[in-house]
């Protein structure tokens, strides 16, 4: 409406030869329109609370959709093995619904290790996309900077794109499975990134290699070590992990699970919040100084001789080559994300048969691969939200926050989420009402309500990257025989206490 007034005044002024008075009126109208626009965008919640944006809403913003970014082509080739485009399809629909809105997809070029550098540079330079896929852990060090928008107030509102009566139609947050969502909350209790899908590690194995060597898929940790030893002896790379520390935490959780009967979790679905664990560490109830922690490290060391030889280079990063090694039939057992299922299914002429097994459970005992602290129950999952969409300060500064939030509501509604997430079928949808890919349902379908990384041992996931790296390096020193067990647990406990103290002071935990 304001735009119309401005254009009318300008048109009149142009037609009737621009007089001084006309020019002044025009300028006043422009200033007034800008002021009104500022008032409107300043009130983010007022707009977002409405049912849907008005049809004539105008905005232009960008999204880094990461795993869902459309590929340059839909033609499958060795350089484009998994073509996708449904995010762009959904964007086109949204732009058709709101012709004044333009959404562009950003594809940054960085290697895995440079991701944070790219993010910091974009956010510092005020050029970050309005919607940025980012792990919740990466947001923790930025708290207090105003870089990320707290999404809780928006998630408490209805999602107008979800049909009435379905989860999320009253409170948007209800659309998401609560356990894997809540563990992504920042230490201050807020959600700064909207979970979009969730994933978990799976243990893949080369069936053909197992048959050649004459070993059966293991179900216990003791059997697992035995199998790895035989694969190693046969000249194969027995074991590799994309993120070497991921399976460590599953093992640690199994050995230290006994503490979880003594300490009450306060998170939803029985998960522990960073506050729960920090206070347990500071009160001396739980930590690396316990005998169970030392036992976890000993169990890890029993397995180490069979790992891919250069694992120590990737404890603070990601081994990007290990999946390729598995695809070429060089690795016997691979620990990686669920997305490998579709990668393996999508690889033509795979020279071997493959399958998955649950992470081996630790049995009680004193033999190799056994623990006197284990309960013998099945291994926990490390499932958690994977792709997470955070809204950056750019949205607030450019005044398009309400539309950006509305766009997130649109793409997370089951109809759109099903198309985007299931296009490749690599991950589990975290939105209720979205069908689960059949390949994944069997292996992971039960994890929707599991606490996943809400277990105590996964506490390290909420550490700052610096602390996380320190603990990983200290563990590595023990595994490579460069530090004693006592030295290692003492040093790790020091880091746990330091991190817990820092968080307790920052967030006022008592």
């Amino acid at each position: 409406m304001e735009t119309q007034k401005v254009s009318e005044v300008l048109a009149q002024a142009t037609e009737a030869k621009l007089t001084r008075r006309g020019a002044l009126k025009g300028a006043a109208a422009i200033v007034g329109a800008i002021a009104l626009a500022r008032i409107e965008v300043g009130n983010d919640l007022a707009f977002a609370a409405t049912d849907r944006p008005p049809k004539n809403v105008r905005a232009s913003f960008s999204i880094f959709g990461d795993d869902y970014n459309p590929t340059p082509s839909m033609v499958k080739s060795p350089n484009n093995p998994l073509p996708i485009h449904n995010l762009q399809v959904v964007i086109n629909e949204y732009e058709k619904m709101y012709p004044g809105v333009h959404v562009s997809v950003v594809t940054p070029h960085y290697s895995n290790d440079d991701r944070r550098t790219w993010e910091v540079t974009q956010l510092t330079g005020n050029t970050a996309p309005e919607i940025l896929q980012t792990p919740a852990q990466a947001i923790i060090p930025d708290m207090g900077k105003g870089w990320w928008v707290n999404l809780d107030p928006y998630l408490a509102q209805p999602n107008p794109y979800i049909p009435k009566g379905q989860p999320g139609s009253v409170h948007w947050i209800d659309e998401f499975y609560s356990a894997p969502t809540d563990v992504q909350r920042a230490p201050d209790g807020h959600l700064y990134a909207m979970p979009y899908d969730f994933s978990s590690d799976l243990v893949y194995y080369n069936k053909t290699m197992f048959e050649k060597v004459g070993v059966a898929p293991p179900s216990t940790y003791a059997e697992f070590i035995n199998v790895l030893a035989k694969l190693h002896k046969a000249g194969y790379i027995a074991y590799g992990a994309r993120v070497p520390t991921s399976p460590w935490f599953i093992l640690g959780e199994m050995v230290m699970r006994g503490y979880e009967t003594k300490i009450k979790p306060t998170g939803s679905g029985g998960s522990y919040t960073p506050k729960d664990v920090a206070l347990a560490v500071l009160h001396g109830v739980w930590g690396a100084d316990k005998p169970e922690y030392a036992n976890y490290l000993e169990l890890l060391k029993e397995q180490e001789p069979y790992w891919k030889q250069d694992w120590s280079l990737y404890v603070t990063a990601v081994d990007a080559n290990v999946e390729n090694d598995f695809l070429q039939g060089r690795i016997g057992v691979l620990n990686s994300g669920v997305y490998m299922v579709s990668n393996l299914n999508g690889t033509s002429n795979l020279p071997f048969k493959w399958s998955t097994i649950p992470f081996p459970r630790v049995t009680r005992g004193n033999g190799v691969g056994q623990s006197s602290y284990a309960d013998g129950k099945s291994a926990p999952s490390n499932s958690s939200a994977d792709v997470m969409y955070a809204v950056t300060k750019t949205a607030r500064e450019k005044g398009n926050l309400p539309v950006v939030i509305d766009f997130l509501r649109y793409i997370s509604a089951p109809k759109q989420a099903a198309r985007i997430i299931n296009e490749l079928g690599q991950k589990l949808p975290i939105e209720k009402g979205v069908p689960v890919p059949p390949d994944l349902k069997a292996a992971l379908g039960s994890q929707f309500n599991s606490k996943g990384v809400g277990g105590m041992f996964f506490y390290q996931y909420t550490f700052t990257t610096e602390e996380f790296n320190k603990v990983a390096n200290l563990s590595t020193a023990y595994l490579l025989g460069r530090a004693s067990l006592k030295e290692t647990t003492t040093a790790i406990q020091k880091e746990y206490v330091a991190e817990s103290k820092a968080n307790a002071a920052k967030f006022g935990w008592k």
Partner: protein, 322 residues
Amino acid sequence: MAQFGPSEVPRTTALAGGMLAHGKPRREHTLWQRIVRARFAYLLLLPCFVFLLVFSYYPAFSALYGSFFNFDYGLSAHFLGLSNFIALFNDQVFLGSLWNVAQLSLFGVIAGVTVPVFAAEWIFRLRSQRAQYFYRILMIWPAVVPEVVGTLIWQYIYDPDAGLLNNFLKAIGHPEWAHPWLADPSTALYAIMGASFPFVGGAAVLIYLAGLQSISSEVLDAASIDGCSGLRRFWHIDLPLIKGQIKLNIVLAIITGMQVFIGPLLLTNGGPMNATNVPILYMWQQAFTYGHFGYASAIGVVVFVAVLILTILNLKVLRDKE
């Protein structure tokens, strides 16, 4: 030659002496007047100085300023005085990185200064001009390939399972020598040193070659007549006469060595367990991975001071010896 009387002093000579032809003192122009007169030249120089200020001096001085603060982009900075520097010299990772860079630099100086001398001497002694030209080109050719490419090739060479090196060792019947070269903290740093094989920097060879070519042919002829050839000529004639070039290459090798970054970043990312971390990589990690920009600035300042001191000492020692 033209003869001049006292009153016939050429005008240029008189002007150069600050006197006008009639003997009155020349009117000195002020600095501003001289700038205005040469404004076109200054205008041409301006972009160079602007870029230098913006991209070299401003970052350097802002890092010096920032090293006294605890700052992270997005948060307000707090003045810390010398705390960052005190913390730095109690930081085991930083101290370890200094030791690593010292070893890398020492190796870089030895290998990067000596091997190119032999390469240059060998090219210089070739009789055929055409062959000299060919090998000169061959030496400089690798310089057009980005360092990153060479480093990544070495990553594959060192791969513990599929790498060329381990497979070669297995092929010659010594599988027990195969090793995870980059992943073992005790060999990783040496593996990074080895990645600069064959240690023949094109620029260093050209510098030496220029020095050798400037040796007077009379000296070489005299040496030849006196029966001084081969290694004796190299040791007693060539080497002393390219001392200046050796000095230059030592200084350059130290400066480059202290700032080494790409090799450790691409081959090991400073790992395993910081065994190959170097100050510049640690500075980058502190700034962009951990968000400690003040601390990172302090590392930058320390490295700058260290390079400056080493360069001054180096020049002084070499000059004194002369």
